[in-house]
Subunit: 119 residues, 2 copies
DNA sequence: GGTTGACCTGGAGTGCGCTCCAGGTGGGAG
DNA sequence: CTCCCACCTGGAGCGCACTCCAGGTCAACC
């Protein structure tokens, strides 16, 4: 099972090192393994979790809610129904965002058309 | 030509009164007409502009860029090509947002499916 | 064995976009 | 006439999500 240095994780996840430390500090990331010198060595599992974080983050989930999700994950398999509920609720919001963006985009297009017609 | 009280504009645009004052203060909204007592009386035109602001805001345009757009509008008709360029650039970003959300949504769906399969 | 550079910590600072507050004015309802 | 309520101003404060900093450790390469 391979491990990753902070620099590798920054490279692969796109999170800054400061952000990774911040996520660990607030508990969004479980305490990361350390080498003898106290430097972080991320596991494959950490990488997977960071991928999930990236997805939730980029779809606008607030950190507080990601924290609740993280706690559910740590609490064990009996929380899977709760996790499903949380993700479905989030999915609804994402759908709302998409619909809203598409709607607003129509307005932008009409505005552009109008400006074109005036030229 | 009808005018609108602050309360009416809050009602119609969904912006808070503080936000409207803030927008005027930073110049996103041109100085609003006042009655004898110094209270704001918004014009139909203000309402239209606020609708545009709402759309740009809700599609994630930063205030700084909306300000540039506002300046273009105030500068006169010769800036219409610039406005088109600005809106098209923004439209590209909106499309990017939509595509990204759809992509991330797939991940969320697969996660939900996985959790369902484990139950 | 000296220098470089990746990493460490705790804590302060930043940028955005509001939001709230204190203290005050003016006009309409009872 | 008095009360209340909507509105005014300048300026301070807030919540979020980082981001930066000072000062230090360790390992590795020349």
């Amino acid at each position: 099972m391979s491990v990753y240095t902070p620099a590798e994780v920054v490279e692969e996840t796109g999170f800054s090192l400061d952000t990774l430390r911040y996520y660990e500090k607030i508990g969004l990331l479980a305490p990361v393994d350390r080498n003898a010198a106290g430097q972080r060595r991320f596991s494959e599992e950490d990488l997977g979790w960071l991928g999930t974080i990236r997805c939730l983050r980029d779809t606008g989930m607030p950190i507080a809610q990601m924290l609740r999700f993280a706690e559910l994950v740590r609490a064990g398999d009996h929380t899977i129904p709760d996790r499903i509920a949380l993700l479905e609720e989030h999915d609804t919001r994402v759908r709302g965002q998409i619909d809203n963006l598409i709607e607003r985009q129509r307005y932008i297009h009409s505005k552009i058309s109008y400006y074109r017609s005036v030229l």
